[in-house]
Amino acid sequence: MTLLSVRNLTVTLMTASGPADAVRNLSFDIERGQILGIAGESGSGKTMTALSIMGLLPYKGKASGSINFDGEELVGFKPKDLRRVRGKDVAMIFQDPMTSLHPMLTIETQLTEHLRHHRKVSKGEARARALELLDTVKIPDPKTALKAHPSQFSGGMRQRIAIAMALACQPKLLIADEPTTALDVTVQAGILKLLDELRKSQNLSVIVITHDLGVLSALTNRLMIMYAGAEVESGPTSQVLTRPRHPYTQGLIDALPDSGANGKRLIAIEGMPPELGKFPTGCAFHTRCSFARSECKSGTPNKVDIDGIRRIFCTVDPFDTPAGVNR
């Protein structure tokens, strides 16, 4: 069953040099209990996609298109109606747990304030729920933790608390924006495992946003690769990562430190990702693509459907061989 259906989403932000589209004509779906990964370099529009679902776009940002969540259209929703959905049915955890928790409020206040607002529960019930949540995310000694402030916890613990906060009202969709980027490698695995357990135990749909393909390969069912605000490739995670069809996806995989054989040099994608407001015309990736032809410079890239479950946006489609990439 489809929980979230995004169609032709375009997000326009106000920059110093005027309005610019940070997300362009994006469409995707998430089923219940599914984990979708969204990957891409910085500035590819991943976070803006997430924030437009939350209705939390930055100052003077605007979303158009359609975001259908559980039967309700979120684009054009009144702020009041958005607040009813936000934090209750859709929750979000942010990149840096050192800054995303309020430094002056106790963990109890931060865990229970939205619970009390949305579910109208008593203080005692909210506290019981908070203890349960801290236990779920494996915070030792939940009773003491409730009275503490975020500064008394490590980064990994804080991210666990942030996850507990997001889960407080039993949301249907959890958006995790770079949930492990700011954490130590050893802590990352624990957080990812926790997210996967929660998905299973609570039938939660999750969107994980990251630039780390390693994180996605371990966790997600489906994967969408973004470049310059638009989708370049999507499909089941294992297929996309083992047999990428878009030159950009191929470039991302080649750039992974452990992808090649030992001693092989890392291959970086030539050039820099384009800045907001300066996206190239045609296929935005053509300026960095070794397969680019003259027709890539204008028009929109061809949409190629593969077996009905995968698609790429590429006019050239250089890896269109039965075995995928021939290496």
Partner: protein, 347 residues
């Protein structure tokens, strides 16, 4: 002194109070040095022309006020007076300076307190509205008003307000602290409104309050402009924080987000400015007190300065410095009340 080596809230306060006392003591030395450096002869300033031409009177005057002694001895004499609690004898009023201050200081404190409450409350509200309606109409109106408040010279505002609200509209009873001939309430704090309440005399309270409202508002206008602009800036800064986005992501009503998640951290910065603003209100009320014939510290300071009344000047600077130091102390303590992290960090 076990308590001094301890950490936590109360040892912190005790330590801060002790350092404040040291600061005040150091301040007496500096202001004494400055008064010694001021050119001018206090004897000439305080004696009439004929008396000044009589060497015997001059000698008697110098002897009476210790002006014939070497400077270090004069300082010791001043410290002696300080510890006796009378702060020396004023050259102009011929009374102990402490008695003068007891009379004039509460008058200024009274309007400054009201002014700072007006400025704080309105400044917080207007600055917050301005920040959350950023670049829209309410913000632009508030920004123009607060800029006007900051840019208008205080003496000019005082004159205009006096003209409009007393002369034209008759809403204000005019200058002074009470109706002519009215009996001030028995002195407890020296602030007529509070003394009237203590005495249970509500008619006098109403009267005193109606007299002090206009000078207090005029005094508040400048501080209000500063506080509004500062509140807007700090609220805007806090609004950009990740934790505010987290609060909004929870779907909380915007008012809750502002009140609980934004204003608390913003208050830390605002209180600092308010503390300094209060102290400068007290020091800067001279012109307003002149327009409203308000018998406060400003008027006293002006007379002491013109008359080269050294003990008087010292007394005033002592009071002003004490107010500044006390405000800083209060701000430091409020910090710890608002921000639990600071308290915890010290334990």
């Amino acid at each position: 002194m076990k308590v001094l080596r301890g950490t936590g809230f109360f040892p912190f306060i005790i330590k801060r109070i002790l350092t404040s006392l040291l600061l005040i003591f150091g301040m007496t030395f500096i202001s004494f040095c400055i008064t010694q450096l001021v050119p001018g002869d206090p004897v000439a300033a305080n004696l009439g022309n004929s008396a000044y031409s009589d060497p015997e009177i001059v000698a008697a005057f110098e002897k009476e006020f210790g002006l014939d002694q070497p400077v270090p001895v004069q300082y010791l004499r001043y410290i002696q007076n300080l510890s006796d609690g009378n702060l020396g004898i004023s050259l102009s009023s011929k009374r102990p300076v402490i008695d003068d201050l007891r009379e004039y200081f509460p008058a200024t404190l009274e309007i400054a307190l009201i002014a700072v409450v007006i400025a704080m409350v309105l400044g917080l509200i207007l600055g917050t509205i301005s920040a959350i309606t950023r670049d829209r109409l309410p913000d632009q109106i508030i920004r123009v008003l607060s800029l006007t408040g900051v840019s208008m010279p205080t003496f000019w505002t005082a004159l205009v307000f006096f003209y409009v609200f007393f002369f034209l509209l008759g809403w204000s009873p005019g200058s002074g602290r009470l109706d002519p001939g009215a009996e001030p309430p028995p002195q407890v704090t020296g602030m007529f409104t509070i003394d009237a309440i203590i005495n249970g005399d509500f008619a006098t309270f109403r009267q005193a309050f109606s007299y002090l409202l206009l000078p207090a508002i005029v005094l508040a206008i400048y501080a209000l402009g500063v506080l509004t602009r500062f509140t807007r800036a700090s609220v805007l800064e806090i609004l950009g924080n990740d934790y505010v986005r987290t609060a909004r992501a929870k779907g909380l009503p915007e008012l809750t987000v502002i009140r609980r998640h934004v204003l608390r951290p913003a208050l830390l910065a605002i209180i600092t400015v308010a503390g300094v603003a209060f102290a400068s209100l007290m020091a800067g009320s001279v012109l307003i007190e002149n327009v409203f014939s308000w018998p406060g510290l400003g008027q006293y300071a002006y007379r002491a300065a013109v008359g080269l009344d050294l003990p008087g000047i010292m007394g005033v600077s002592m009071v002003v410095a004490t107010v500044y130091i006390t405000m800083n102390l209060i701000v430091d303590i409020l910090y710890r009340v608002i921000d639990p992290q600071l308290r915890k960090a010290e334990q």
